[in-house]
């Protein structure tokens, strides 16, 4: 063995000694389950000592005929279609406001970020009380300003999703506000100065400088948010439990019920693969879109 080979071998040993503690745990508890989910999606299994039966794409065929699955998919999309754009606009505008250099601005940032770190169970409990249809503060307020029949919120099939969307936006807006703030601080002040000399007003600066300069961030936020929407579970579970009826039953609710209520592990994994494919497509669209539309200076 030459000394060069020896050195390489030694480097390999050192390198692996560093990553092994993590790699072992990571392989057993994350990597293998990820790979296993593809296999399980092709099988039928109740989790007992009964053997796993391979059924090919049967689970996926069943999913396509399953009305609950279809509803959960539609509900998830509804949730995403409203949550994503509203959160983007709200967090961007907030960031622009909070980028001002005035006294006490750090306190305001803290206030807006606060809901993000609060536990979903606690937050869900409060909002459910705020949304209480008969005596809750929200409906009391709506009656006060003259709305005769305020919505039933979480107990109404038409309004439960709206309630969940409102809470989601409230909870996650602060997180993306911070992402936007970091991006705003990267925009060169000379752009605004130049626009000011040309006589641009505040709105024009926002419209023609800030928003275009933030496109890469907006793309990133859009993808993060969309993925986050497709994997929503906790908030809905604690606020509505997927109900009333199936009104807020989302994709992960479906996976959870199939696996841990009905013990159809293969079927649940197939639905999880659908979730994976959606996330994959969203991520790929981002990569393509970033190259095409994003305005880099």
């Amino acid at each position: 063995m030459t000394s060069k080979q020896k050195r390489r071998l030694k480097n390999d040993a050192i390198g692996y000694s560093f990553i092994l503690p993590n790699l072992i745990g990571y392989s057993i508890f994350i990597l293998i389950p990820v790979l296993f989910s593809f296999i399980l999606s092709l099988a039928e299994w109740d989790g007992s000592s009964n053997p796993i039966v391979f059924v090919g794409l049967e689970n996926f065929r069943h999913l396509m005929d399953d009305s609950t699955f279809k509803i959960s998919l539609v509900n998830t999309m509804k949730y995403a279609v409203f949550t994503v754009p509203i959160t983007i606009v709200a967090s961007m505008l907030l960031a622009v406001l909070l980028n001002s250099k005035v006294k006490g601005i750090a306190w305001f940032r803290t206030a807006f970020f606060f809901p993000y770190i609060a536990s979903i169970v606690a937050v869900g409990a409060v909002w459910n009380m705020l949304f209480q249809p008969d005596y809750g503060p929200i409906n009391t307020f709506l009656k006060m300003i003259g709305i005769q029949n305020p919505p039933g919120w979480v107990i109404s099939t038409d309004w439960a999703m709206v309630a969940v969307i409102i809470v989601s936006i409230w909870k996650y807006m602060g997180y993306y506000m911070i992402v936007y703030l970091a991006a705003l601080q990267g925009i060169s002040g000379s752009l605004y100065e130049a626009a000011g000399i040309d006589g641009a007003n505040g709105w024009q600066k926002l419209r023609y400088i800030t928003v275009p300069m933030l496109t890469p961030t907006t793309f990133f936020v859009m993808v993060m948010l969309t993925i986050q929407c497709f994997k929503v579970f906790d908030l809905i579970y604690v606020m509505t439990g997927g109900g009333p009826g199936r009104a807020t039953n989302v994709l992960v609710n479906f996976i959870y019920n199939a696996a841990f209520v009905q013990f159809k592990f293969g079927y649940a994994s197939a639905a999880a693969i659908v979730l994976f494919l959606i996330v994959l497509v969203v991520t790929l669209v981002q990569f393509r879109g970033e190259k095409k539309f994003v305005n880099y200076m």
Partner: protein
């Protein structure tokens, strides 16, 4: 010009204060409700400042459910997960950032790819695997499944990459082993990133709901988040108590947040710029 700027500033403050109040109203409502009598929480007209403060609510709730046990369980899970996460992530990150070995890039790509896979995609097979290893309904199982996230390795590695190689090279010439360079140079320099990782892991594990929901059945193993759920289902109409329990569950994270806010903000900002 000066007057216009002042007017603008006042408008800005008014807008900011109004928005901040809207954001914080749910927390304020939670706090005042936790100090009311159960029957007064929804009484009309609504009282934004209660007539009397019933601090005894905070005493009563501890006897209603084993909340102390839930707190202990949550603290244990949080502590062990965070320590294992931090220790193995820093170690692995040094390997990926500063040691050249065969298979490094391939392994790193594998790590990065799985960051993009949501846990909800593989939670079912993970549960199956854990039950085969007899690790379901145990704290150990929950700790192990959350302690090896690829995110931790990624975060630390990105930070270590920014530490100049010349620094390590100089130490190598001085005769320090790789472990010595890691322990004496890279690890201390990486403290800010470690703080970010600790805080994010802490908050995630403390607030985690779905993991314990799936993995823990026995009451004596449950976490504070599951505890509040139990509280709601058993004392559904005792609104003040539910709010008091919720406030208790928030306190540790709130304290952590107020003291280490800087690291939260830096962590998020870094992840945003990366994208």
């Amino acid at each position: 010009m000066h007057i216009r700027n002042n007017a603008k500033r006042i408008i800005l403050y008014v807008v900011l204060i109004a928005l901040a109040l809207i954001m914080l109203v749910p927390f304020y409502w939670m706090l005042i409700s936790s100090l009311k009598l159960n029957k007064d929480v929804f009484s009309l007209p609504m009282k934004w400042i209660p007539d009397s403060f019933h601090f005894e609510n905070y005493k009563v709730i501890w006897g209603k459910l084993p909340l102390i046990m839930f707190f202990k369980n949550t603290s244990k899970l949080t502590l062990f997960t965070t320590v294992i996460q931090l220790f193995t992530s820093c170690f692995a990150a040094y390997g990926f950032a500063k040691v050249k070995f065969r298979g490094r890039n391939l392994l790193f790509i594998l790590y990065v790819t799985t960051i993009a896979v949501p846990w909800q995609v593989y939670m079912v097979p993970q549960f199956v695997l854990m039950s085969k290893l007899h690790l379901t309904n145990s704290h150990l199982g929950l700790i192990l499944m959350q302690a090896f996230s690829a995110f931790g390795v990624f975060l630390m590695r990105q930070f270590y990459i920014s530490i100049p190689d010349e620094l390590c090279e100089a130490a190598r010439i001085d005769g320090l082993s790789e472990y010595g360079i890691f322990g004496r140079i890279v690890l201390p320099l990486g403290k800010p990133a470690m703080a970010t990782l600790v805080i994010f892991t802490f908050v995630n594990v403390w607030n985690d709901f779905m993991g314990p929901l799936i993995f823990l059945n026995s009451t004596e193993l449950k976490t504070i988040q599951l505890g509040i759920r139990m509280f709601i289902s058993q004392f559904g109409a005792e609104y003040a108590w539910i709010m008091a329990a919720s406030v208790c569950a928030l306190v540790p994270v709130v304290l952590l947040f107020l003291f280490f806010q800087r690291f939260f903000v830096e962590g998020i900002a870094a992840s945003g710029i990366k994208g």
